[in-house]
Symmetry: C2
Subunit: 160 residues, 2 copies
C-alpha cells in the first residue's frame, strides 16, 4: 500500500517526474530561478513547512538540480546547477500554459523577457529539425533503443 513510484514505466517523463514531481518542488525551483537563494526566503515566499522545505532542498541537492554553497556572508545558499537551469523550458512552458488557460483577469502575472532587448520571448513551441513550428498533430513518436514496453503494448498511434 505504499505510494507507487513510476519506475516500472521506463519513461523519461516518469523519470523527470521522480525528480520534480513532488508537491512544492517545482515552486522551489521557480523561486531559485527568480533569484532566491536562502532557506528562509524560500520558506517565507512559499509558506511551506520548514521540515518539508528542508527535505525537498536536500533531495534537489542530491539530484544535482541545486548546489549548496557556503555563500558570501557565511550563510548557505542554494544555486541552480546546469542540470537545474536546463529545467527552464519546462517552467516556462508551464507558466505560458497557465497564463493562457487559467488566466488572471487582470492580465499576465509574470512576463519573460529577452534580457538583451527586453522584448518578450516567444511562446514555447515544438520545432521541426528545420525550424518549422509544429502543432500537436504534426508530431509522431517512434521507439528508441532504450524503449521497453511496459504493461500495455501501446500501438503508438497518432493523435486524431
Amino acid at each position: 500500500m505504499k505510494r507507487r513510484d513510476f519506475d516500472h514505466l521506463n519513461c523519461s517523463l516518469a523519470q523527470t517526474l521522480s525528480v520534480i514531481g513532488e508537491h512544492w518542488t517545482l515552486l522551489i525551483i521557480r523561486d531559485a530561478f527568480m533569484g532566491l537563494r536562502r532557506f528562509d526566503d524560500f520558506q517565507k515566499d512559499l509558506g511551506i513547512a520548514r521540515n518539508v522545505l528542508s527535505e525537498r532542498l536536500k533531495r534537489l541537492v542530491n539530484e544535482e538540480v541545486l548546489e549548496k554553497t557556503p555563500g558570501e556572508k557565511g550563510f548557505p545558499e542554494y544555486h541552480l546547477t546546469a542540470k537545474g537551469l536546463a529545467l527552464q523550458p519546462i517552467l516556462i512552458s508551464m507558466t505560458h500554459w497557465g497564463d493562457k488557460h487559467r488566466p488572471n483577469p487582470k492580465g499576465r502575472r509574470l512576463i519573460f523577457l529577452d534580457r538583451k532587448n527586453r522584448k518578450p520571448i516567444q511562446t514555447m513551441t515544438v520545432r521541426a529539425h528545420d525550424d518549422r513550428r509544429l502543432k500537436p498533430k504534426d508530431i509522431t513518436v517512434k521507439r528508441g533503443p532504450g524503449h521497453r514496453s511496459s504493461g500495455l503494448d501501446i500501438p503508438l498511434s497518432d493523435l486524431r
Copy 2:
C-alpha cells in the same frame, strides 16, 4: 492541517500545477497523447488504481483538458481537447529533460518525430522574439498587470 493548495501564490505556474500537478495526472495525459482513449487501457498501462483513475479523469474532464465522448462502439472515450493538446510543449520538455539528465543506458526511450518527414524534432528551447535561441541566463522577468506580490516581495533578480 489541510494540504495547502497554491492559490495564495498568484502564479501561473502554480495554476498549471493545480491542473496537472497531481500524481498520475501527467502520465494519464501522456497516455492520451499516445493514443489511449479507454478507461481500462489507461488502467492497465499505468497500473493505477481504478478509483484514482476515475477521479483523475473526472477532474481532467472538468478542467476541459480531456473530453468524454460516447465513442464509436458505444464505449466512452477520452480525447484531448485543444486545451489538453496545448500541454504538449510541457510534456516534451519534460521528456527531453529526462532523456538527457536521467538517461536510460540503452539510449532514448521514445523519440518524437516530425510526421511530415519523420525526422526528430528539436530539443525544446526558449526563443527570442526574433527566433534566436536563448539560454537560461539570457532571460529576465518583469511583472505584468496581473502580478500581485505574494508573501515575500521578491526582488526579481536575475540568474547569476
